[in-house]
C-alpha cells in the first residue's frame, strides 16, 4: 500500500542559495515530480542557525527537510526524492541502466566540474591550458554518451541530466568570463544539442538563476582565486 497517497499535509523544505547549481538540482527534481515545497534562501556568508543545525558537518546547501527528516548532499537527496515520490522517475528500472546513470552523474561531479570549474575558471596561463585540455577530454566522453539520445536519461530527463544540467547555463558564463569556448558546436554537436534541449525544457527553463548576477559573482570568485581581488 502506498502511504504517500494518504499523507496530504507533507512538509518539504529546501535550503538553497540563489546561485548554487547543487541546490538547483533538488529544486528541479521536486518540480519535475510536482512536489510542493518551501525554499529557505540562505546567504553563505551569514548562514542561518537552522542550516548549521541541519548540516553541521558540511554547513552547505542544499539540505532537504521532509517531514522533519534531514538529508544533505545533492546526489543523495536526488536518490531520496526518486525513491519517495515515484511519479516521473529520474532513474530507470533496469539495474545496469541505473548504474550507467549514476556513473555519468558521478563523472560530472568528479571530473567535468573539476576540470571546468577548478581547471579553467579559477586558473590562468599554463595551468588553465592544462585545465582546458582536461575539460576537452571529459567533454569528449559526454559527447559519446549523449550521441543519439535526447537526454542522458533517454526520452525524458533523468538523474544524469540533472547532475550535469549546470552545463546548460553556468558553462556559458564560464566561457564568457575566460574567453574560451568549451562546448563548441563543431567539436561536440550532440552535447551542444543536449545543452539547448535541456536549457529550454519545461521547468528547467523557468528556474535558471540570473545570468548577469552569476557573471558578476564568478568574476569575483575567479579574481579572488588568482589573487587579484580582495579576498573575502
Amino acid at each position: 500500500m502506498d502511504e504517500r497517497k494518504y499523507n496530504m499535509a507533507e512538509e518539504v523544505k529546501v535550503f538553497s542559495t540563489w546561485a548554487s547549481p547543487f541546490a538547483l538540482r533538488v529544486i528541479w527534481a521536486l518540480k519535475l515530480k510536482g512536489v510542493e515545497f518551501d525554499t529557505v534562501h540562505e546567504d553563505l556568508i551569514n548562514k542561518s542557525p537552522l542550516l548549521l543545525q541541519y548540516n553541521p558537518i558540511h554547513k552547505k546547501v542544499p539540505v532537504l527537510v521532509h517531514d522533519g527528516k534531514v538529508i544533505c548532499e545533492s546526489l543523495v537527496i536526488l536518490e531520496y526524492i526518486d525513491e519517495t515520490w515515484k511519479q516521473n522517475p529520474l532513474l530507470p528500472e533496469d539495474p545496469h541502466q541505473k548504474a550507467n546513470a549514476r556513473f555519468w552523474a558521478k563523472f560530472g561531479d568528479d571530473k567535468v566540474m573539476q576540470s571546468i570549474g577548478g581547471g579553467v575558471l579559477l586558473k590562468e596561463g599554463k595551468e588553465q591550458e592544462e585545465g582546458f585540455a582536461a575539460s576537452m577530454e571529459n567533454l569528449k566522453y559526454l559527447e559519446e554518451e549523449i550521441r543519439g539520445k535526447k537526454f542522458f536519461g533517454g526520452e525524458t530527463i533523468g538523474l544524469a541530466d540533472i547532475a550535469l544540467g549546470w552545463l546548460a547555463h553556468y558553462l556559458d558564463i564560464v566561457e564568457e568570463i575566460v574567453g574560451l569556448k568549451l562546448i563548441d558546436q563543431e567539436k561536440f554537436p550532440s552535447l551542444a544539442a543536449w545543452k539547448q534541449e535541456f536549457a529550454n525544457a519545461p521547468i528547467i527553463r523557468e528556474n535558471w538563476p540570473d545570468r548577469d548576477k552569476l557573471v558578476t559573482k564568478y568574476v569575483v570568485v575567479r579574481e579572488a582565486n588568482l589573487g587579484k581581488g580582495t579576498p573575502k
Binding site: 558537518i57 527528516k69 543523495v76 531520496y80 545496469h96 541505473k98 548504474a99 556513473f103 558521478k106
Partner: protein, 202 residues
C-alpha cells in the same frame, strides 16, 4: 545466470569492496587480477573513461566505479540486503558512504605525507574519523547495525590497509585511546569471514 567477472587490483581497497559484496551475496564470480602498469585490452574496453579497477562485468555489461558497482550488486542480487529499505535510512547510509570520499582524500594525504605534512595529514584524518565515529557509527557494532552493510564495505580501507600504512609511517591514528568505537569496529570488521584471509597478498 549470466557470468560475473571482476577485474581488480589486489593491493587496492576498492577492489576488495566488490569482493566482499559479492561474497556476502553468495555470488559466484571470476576474479581477474590486472597489472596496472600493463593494462589488459579487456580493462580498457570495459572502462574506457577511467581505465581503472575495479570493473564488474555481468553478462557482457560492464560497470565501473566501486560505489556504483556496490549499488548495482545490491539491486541485482537482493538477497541478504546491504542497504536499508526505508528511503530515509538509505539516504543516511548513502550520506555516510559519500562522507568516505572525503576520508579517502585525508587517507591519501596521510599515506603520501612526510614530516610536517604527515603530522598535518594525521590530524586532519583524526578529525574526519572523529565525526565518522560519533555521528556515523555511534554505538553500533557495524554501520549496518548487527551486520555489515554497504557503508561498512565502503570504509574497509580503515581496517587492515590503514593499519599497514600506520606501521609504515610510524604514526598511529586509529587507536583505542583516540577512536575507541571506530577502533573496535575495525577489529570486528577484520574478523568477519568475508574479510579475514584476504590480507595475504598485501
Amino acid at each position: 545466470m549470466a557470468e560475473v567477472k571482476l577485474y581488480g587490483f589486489w593491493p587496492s581497497p576498492y577492489s576488495h569492496r566488490i569482493i566482499w559484496a559479492l561474497k556476502l551475496k553468495g555470488v559466484e564470480y571470476e576474479y581477474i587480477e590486472e597489472d596496472l602498469s600493463n593494462k589488459s585490452e579487456s580493462l580498457l574496453k570495459y572502462n574506457p573513461v577511467y581505465k581503472k579497477t575495479p570493473v564488474l562485468v555481468h553478462g557482457d555489461k560492464p560497470i565501473a566505479e566501486s560505489l556504483v558497482i556496490l549499488e548495482y550488486i545490491e539491486e541485482t542480487w537482493p538477497e541478504n540486503p546491504l542497504l536499508p529499505k526505508d528511503p530515509y535510512e538509505r539516504a543516511m547510509a548513502r550520506f555516510w558512504i559519500q562522507y568516505g570520499v572525503d576520508t579517502v582524500a585525508a587517507l591519501r594525504a596521510f599515506y603520501q605525507g612526510s614530516g610536517e605534512e604527515l603530522e598535518k595529514a594525521a590530524t586532519e584524518l583524526l578529525e574526519s574519523l572523529k565525526i565518522l565515529e560519533e555521528q556515523g557509527l555511534g554505538d553500533k557494532r557495524f554501520f549496518g547495525g548487527e551486520s555489515m552493510n554497504l557503508v561498512d564495505i565502503s570504509y574497509g580501507a580503515l581496517g587492515y590497509w590503514l593499519a599497514a600504512v600506520e606501521e609504515v609511517k610510524g604514526v598511529k591514528v586509529l587507536e583505542p585511546s583516540t577512536l575507541p568505537r571506530l577502533h573496535a569496529w575495525a577489529k570486528n570488521l577484520d574478523e568477519l569471514p568475508v574479510v579475514k584471509g584476504k590480507h595475504s597478498g598485501l
